[in-house]
């Protein structure tokens, strides 16, 4: 073989070797690729990370979020009406240690675990008393057999219960060995149950009502977070190298509500409603005259039928916009007196058989004419008997040519608009004034006796409070301060809606008329209440919905059977001579053939409320001044210091014993009461070996 041939042969052999190497290399890469592909498919479909490996994948730090503690809602005296505390839900990992026992094939350990589970079941049954021990045991064992890692055993436990449960057999071994799982959730507690529930309100997912909703940003606080790392002894601690935000707990809000007043009003109103199955709902407002602070706000209503329970279902005080009836006659009277059209309540007007052209006849006037034989009536008496005729006549006579003047008054009393309040959702009044679509020839007269003008009960109470406060109309309010750890952060002082709705003299005149309603008029059930009350009754028929009215029925107030919906109101203030509180009670009926008057159910409820509030406040009771000087105890020197036996006459036994025995002497005594004689006598030489005999009477 020539050299050239030899070189060619070498090249061929070299190339073959490279080809072989490359072939196997390619084969290896192909195998690797296939293996990777298989692994990808396996990982995506059936791969489970072994427990022993999982720990290596966990981050060394974990983010921990701190939820703030929601602020409390306090009554005016600081008693909590809503506060937060965690509640605990109890679950169990039934599969705990199952795999471990199985892998070790340790049937004894499994049997032992089940025996502990039986003891646990007995303890749970004894604690919760909702299921038998056998039921609990069955639930646990069934859960273990079907691999349940999250068996719910109990929800909403308090801390004491949780601590007892944590000491039960099996659970005391902890989560990893005993399978106990506890989940915490912050829950709102209302210690007074449904008392003022609509005022306090709540925040639950999409439902947000009352003070809880309006003051949510203040009450909620701010979430915090920190990164935590695990220490050598497996505790989780804050990782100082990471960022953190400190949790900020919510602030408290102190309301103006008086729990005792709220309790009294709730109870009185509840009793009255429960005694009348035609009554659908009842409300009560108690407002402090000088400040406008609301001391009680009750909103009780039944469901669609009388058989349903009474509950704070809706805030009718704020939302129930409606014609208020005769309680609005005070609006007309106040305007007439303030404008000088009625200079005296004894001013008379002709009775005209109770007829004002264009209006319905007032039959009360016919009764009045028949009983008295008179053809005129005083404004005072017209107010006492709540005559529609009298107020229609006065309104038409004095404001007929200038109705705007009366409506200006109505707006100045803030009856024509919703005002800012601590709970949102106040209904907007509806006023049929000149120029509006609802205005007609009779609107002025009907407005004068309470129809044609729709307002909320809070508007009415605020107006009467203005009269009680000598013309100064205060803005009603429910929150007096925001507090943090007992310190006031922000306070909300009383404020005015209108500094002067009338002169003090006008307010006094109208107060006299309101007092007369209780003494001589439609609210005599309040006569003799423990505090004198001044106020006005009102009965109004409620406009029915088209469904309630029935097809083809054009009467807005009656259904086809002649039934109607009534509301009866009493609103006033007490004590009448120096008003401290304004009070309003309204009851609403179902569709009924009966009438409900402000002088009946509301007046009875108010009487009970007034009598009970009277008993709570000692400022209304006569003061006692001591007529004899009460002797003051004089400090007497002890026997040991004076060297003589002290005069113990008039002393109590305790003091006498102390005086003798602290000087080292001995004492015997007879009787009870105060020392009347002693042996040895006072002033004789002290000898501590001698027993002092005391006679008490």
């Amino acid at each position: 073989m020539s050299r050239k041939e030899s070189e060619i042969q070498d090249t061929i052999v070299g190339r073959d070797r490279i080809d072989v190497v490359m072939f196997f290399l390619g084969l290896a890469f192909l195998a690797l690729g296939l293996w990777i592909l298989v692994r990808v498919v396996h990982i995506q479909t059936g791969y489970k990370v072994p427990q022993s490996v999982i720990g290596y994948f966990r981050p060394s730090v974990q983010k921990h979020t701190d939820a703030p503690v929601r602020g409390r809602i306090l009554a005016t005296d600081g008693r909590p009406m809503a506060l937060s505390a965690p509640l605990y839900d109890l679950y169990m990992d039934c599969t705990v240690r199952q795999r471990e026992f199985r892998e070790k094939k340790d049937a004894g350990a499994e049997a032992k675990w089940r025996e502990k589970a039986r003891e646990l079941a007995a303890s749970l049954s004894a604690e919760f008393k909702d299921r038998s021990a056998a039921d609990y045991y069955k639930a646990i064992i069934d859960g273990r057999e079907r691999g349940s890692r999250y068996l719910c055993l109990r929800k909403d436990m308090d801390l004491n219960t949780l601590q007892r449960v944590q000491a039960f057999p099996l659970f005391r071994e902890g989560g990893n060995k005993g399978g106990i799982i506890v989940e915490t959730h912050e829950e709102r507690i209302y210690p007074y149950d449904s008392l003022a529930l609509r005022v306090i309100g709540y925040v639950k997912e999409d439902t947000r009502i009352g003070l809880e909703a309006n003051f949510d940003p203040v009450l909620h606080g701010r979430e915090g977070y920190e990164w935590r790392r695990v220490t050598d002894d497996r505790s989780w601690i804050r990782d100082l190298d990471s960022s953190s935000v400190k949790v900020k707990d919510g602030m408290d809000i102190r309301t103006t509500l008086n729990v005792d007043f709220q309790d009294i009003a709730d109870k009185a109103l509840r009793a009255q409603i429960q005694a009348n199955e035609d009554v659908r709902a009842g409300i009560c407002i108690i407002m402090e005259a000088k400040t406008g602070a609301i001391r009680a706000m009750v909103n009780l209503s039944r469901g669609k039928t009388p058989q349903t329970s009474l509950w704070e279902r809706d805030n009718l005080v704020l939302r129930e916009v409606g014609e208020q009836g005769s309680v609005m006659k005070t609006v007309t009277l106040l305007s007439l007196v303030e404008d000088g059209y009625v200079s005296s309540l004894e001013q008379t007007l002709p009775t005209n058989n109770g007829l004002v052209p264009g209006y319905n006849q007032d039959v009360h006037i016919l009764d009045y004419q028949r009983e008295t034989g008179r053809r005129d009536i005083t404004v005072m008496h017209g107010f006492e008997i709540s005559s529609n005729y009298v107020f229609t006549y006065l309104a038409e006579h004095y404001y007929g040519k200038k109705p705007q003047e009366m409506f200006d008054h109505i707006y100045s009393y803030r009856l024509g608009e919703a005002f800012d309040f601590d709970i949102s959702g106040m209904g907007t009044p509806m006023v049929n004034r000149p120029g509006t679509p609802g205005w007609s020839k009779t609107t002025l007269g009907t407005t004068a006796y309470g129809y044609g003008l729709s307002v909320t009960p809070l508007h009415v109470a605020t107006f009467y409070n203005g009269i009680a406060n000598k013309g100064r109309m205060m803005k009603p309010y429910l929150v007096e301060s925001i507090e943090k750890d007992g310190k006031v952060v922000k306070s909300f002082p009383p404020s005015e809606l209108n500094g002067s709705i009338c002169s003090p003299a006008t307010a006094d005149t109208v107060t006299r008329a309101l007092r007369s309603v209780v003494e001589e008029g439609t609210a005599t059930r309040l006569k003799g209440a423990k505090l004198p009350v001044a106020g006005k009754t009102g009965t109004a028929q409620v406009v029915l919905t088209p469904e309630e009215r029935g097809a083809g029925n054009r009467d807005p107030y009656h259904d086809l059977s002649g039934r109607k919906k009534n509301q009866g109101t009493f609103v006033g203030f007490f004590p009448a001579d120096n008003p401290k509180y304004t009070i309003l009670v309204t009851v609403y009926s179902y569709l009924s053939g009966k009438s409900f008057y402000g002088g009946t159910i509301p007046a009875l409820a108010i009487r009970e409320i007034v009598d009970k509030i009277y008993a709570l406040d000692d400022t209304w009771y006569g003061e006692y001044r001591p007529t004899e000087a009460v002797p003051h105890m004089q400090k007497k020197e002890l026997a040991a210091t004076t060297g003589t036996v002290p005069d113990l006459k008039g002393w109590g036994l305790k003091e006498a014993l102390y005086a003798i025995e602290s000087a080292g002497g001995q004492c015997t005594y007879e009787g009870t009461g105060h020392v009347v004689s002693q042996q040895p006598a006072a002033g004789s030489k002290w000898n501590k070996a001698e027993t002092v005999k005391l006679i008490l009477k």
Binding site: P80, P191, D232, I237, K612, A615, L616, D618
Partner: protein
């Protein structure tokens, strides 16, 4: 340094370690104070780190204890407040068959002359 030198150095080092002469061979005695100081610093760092961990653990435990107390307080407060209401008191008295009732007159006040 060639590969044989590295091998020789490793062999020498190994022998020196085996004979307990390594630190002397590398003249570590010259840096004795520095080494001791370094150890001291390391010891201090570890000790302080452990103390910080211990303090933070204690702080965490305290926080949990405070939270537990707060919960107890809130639960007790709610229970007591509930008992304090006038109607709850009235109902309790009635249930116990007591003749006592809520006052019908306000408390009398005796004022100084």
């Amino acid at each position: 340094m060639g590969i044989p030198n590295i091998g020789a150095t490793l062999r020498n080092s190994f022998r020196a370690i085996r004979n307990g002469e390594f630190l002397l061979r590398v003249r570590a005695d010259k840096y004795y104070m520095h080494i001791m100081y370094l150890f001291l610093l390391m010891w201090l760092t570890i000790m302080l780190s452990l103390q910080v961990d211990k303090t933070l653990t204690q702080a965490g435990n305290n926080k949990a204890a405070i939270e537990e107390l707060r919960t107890h307080h809130a639960e007790k407060e709610a229970a007591l407040v509930k008992l304090r209401s006038a109607s709850a008191t009235e109902a309790r008295l009635k249930r116990m068959g007591s003749q006592a009732a809520l006052p019908k007159e306000p408390a009398s006040v005796i004022k100084k002359k």
